[in-house]
Symmetry: none
Subunit: 290 residues, 2 copies
DNA sequence: ACAATTGTGAAAAATTTATCACAGCCGGAG
DNA sequence: CTCCGGCTGTGATAAATTTTTCACAATTGT
């Protein structure tokens, strides 16, 4: 009947596919902080998952327990069993995998990158960069290279919703000189240039600079040559156990910037976002649920 | 008043000397199977320690708690904190900035996302996904949506170097049905679909499935509806203090996959990479030195 | 529009907690 | 040896909390 060797976590994950929205919401909430959240009162669990009390009661029974207390008892037993085994510390990230697994090694490197990047960053510079990017009076150019244009576009896509008056430039394309014709004093260039620094990007930055534009640079720890032209440089550590460099940390900075700019521009943005919602509704581009 | 950094275990051990017989008996029983035994009903704890109910009630109050429920609540909190591990405890990441600074709050959220994602991922599924993506006999289609096409392209750009026989499809474009004409049994679709799941992406996945293709899905913790069609789903936690969701964790998985596939295909890739180097040299796209 | 899912509010049932008074026990002091 | 004082268990009970269940309304997807 009930598989004894199976943890409640396993059992929940297994049924995750057959669950309805509220149930899944609840299930994920339980797994989120496992097993602590399941050991409190039923009502607290429901509240934490933003689900109604009956939903919890119903699901517990669907999972095969006579009632919530029985469910808790099993969780406690499980907990007791764990404690006796190896120490439950997070030695590895993906616990089911050995620590030499690429997932764990890679993750460890990324965490280290983040730590190091954040330790060296100047919050003032970051804030200034955000102010510049948020300023709707300045035209915003976002520039990426061969690989980094994906980051540039990620920033561009979000900025497009937050503010008007911006352009995405791909420095590897041969059309970029056209964009520069319109650049003027006071405009802002957000430039991405990481290892394997690109000549085109440098040239573009030089010309932008010559036209009196302000340059915000996302680069790596060794810094693109563009940094000499940049008013603000934000560098990330990008080392991972791979033949390639990691963009994950730069992505984190970019997303933080998006969030910060969003907040700075919230009043102006609100309407734009609502309009966007309407358009999405009309085009049925997105699904509402499940 | 109450030392916050002290675990209940510490606190009990500290007072162990000043305790009476029954209390000590109870205390040792709690520590015996810590913290599981303390999370059950009071009566069960009393029975387990061979002491009376009032003894437990009395001691809990002596330890400084208003009542048994409060004691339990603290135990649960402690348990939750342990599970998060040492890295998540970081007070501030950018030390020069206050902990309320967006950089710190954002980073903390991303770290938590990474932790939670890695804790729930199935390494076997990940490995299988990498094998599929590395298999050069299968045509590889990489599919992204409105925002996620940047991730898709990031994967595509790297895969392009590592292996031949692949296509980048943007599900929001209206040209994707053309690509499907060529899809056949055994081909692999890597699909990106995160919150604000897109109808086009779902349709595309359905058709791919109908044509006998294998689907690897990158999604969020709530899972795109595509996951029912997918052979392998890799879900990331994407919650950050922002109006938007975070792609940083998904990026980490993608980069791990790139690294893993790179290793699997190293023999075959080596030549391709050298060729690429030559081309880059000839086009002088990159700078040799700073 | 229909069927399934979920939330609301409430009430009843069950369990758990907190106390109390009292009796028994134990060790040590006299 | 006896008495004393503190500790502990018993059994009972009241209070508080928690669980369980209901009927019905609201929501949402098909």
């Amino acid at each position: 009947m009930m598989d004894a060797d199976q943890t409640i976590s396993d059992r929940i994950q297994e049924k995750l596919d057959d669950m309805t929205r509220a149930e899944r919401q609840l299930a994920l909430s339980i797994l989120e902080n496992y097993p602590a959240s399941g050991l409190g009162p039923l009502a607290a669990l429901a509240k934490g998952a933003n689900v109604s009390v009956p939903t919890v009661a119903r699901m517990v029974q669907k999972l095969g327990y006579k009632g919530y207390p029985e469910f808790q008892a099993n969780l406690r037993d499980e907990l007791g069993a764990i404690a006796k085994g190896p120490i439950a510390k997070h030695e590895t990230w993906a616990e089911a995998a050995p620590s030499e697994h690429i997932l764990n090694r890679f993750t460890e490197a990324v965490i280290e990158n983040i730590r190091s990047t954040l330790a060296h960053i100047e919050p003032d510079a970051f804030d200034k960069a955000c102010d510049l990017v948020a300023d709707q009076n300045r035209h915003l150019y976002i520039v990426g290279g061969r690989i980094t244009h994906t980051l540039a576009e990620y920033l561009f896509l979000h900025m497009q919703v937050i503010r008007p008056n911006l352009t995405h430039v791909q420095s590897t394309s041969n059309t970029w000189p056209h964009y520069l014709l319109n650049a003027q004093d006071g405009d802002v260039f957000v430039v991405f240039d990481v290892r394997r620094y690109e000549n085109n990007t440098l040239k573009l930055a030089e010309m932008a600079r010559a036209r009196g534009a302000t340059i915000v640079l996302f680069t790596d720890q060794w810094r693109s040559p563009v940094h000499r032209l940049a008013d603000i440089s934000l560098s990330s550590r990008i080392i991972v156990p791979s033949a390639w460099d990691s963009a994950a940390t730069t992505m984190l900075l970019v997303e933080s910037m998006i969030s910060a700019v969003q907040i700075l521009n919230w009043e102006k943005t609100k309407d734009r976002m609502e309009e966007l919602e309407d358009i999405f509704d009309n085009t049925k581009l997105f699904r509402k649920f499940t």
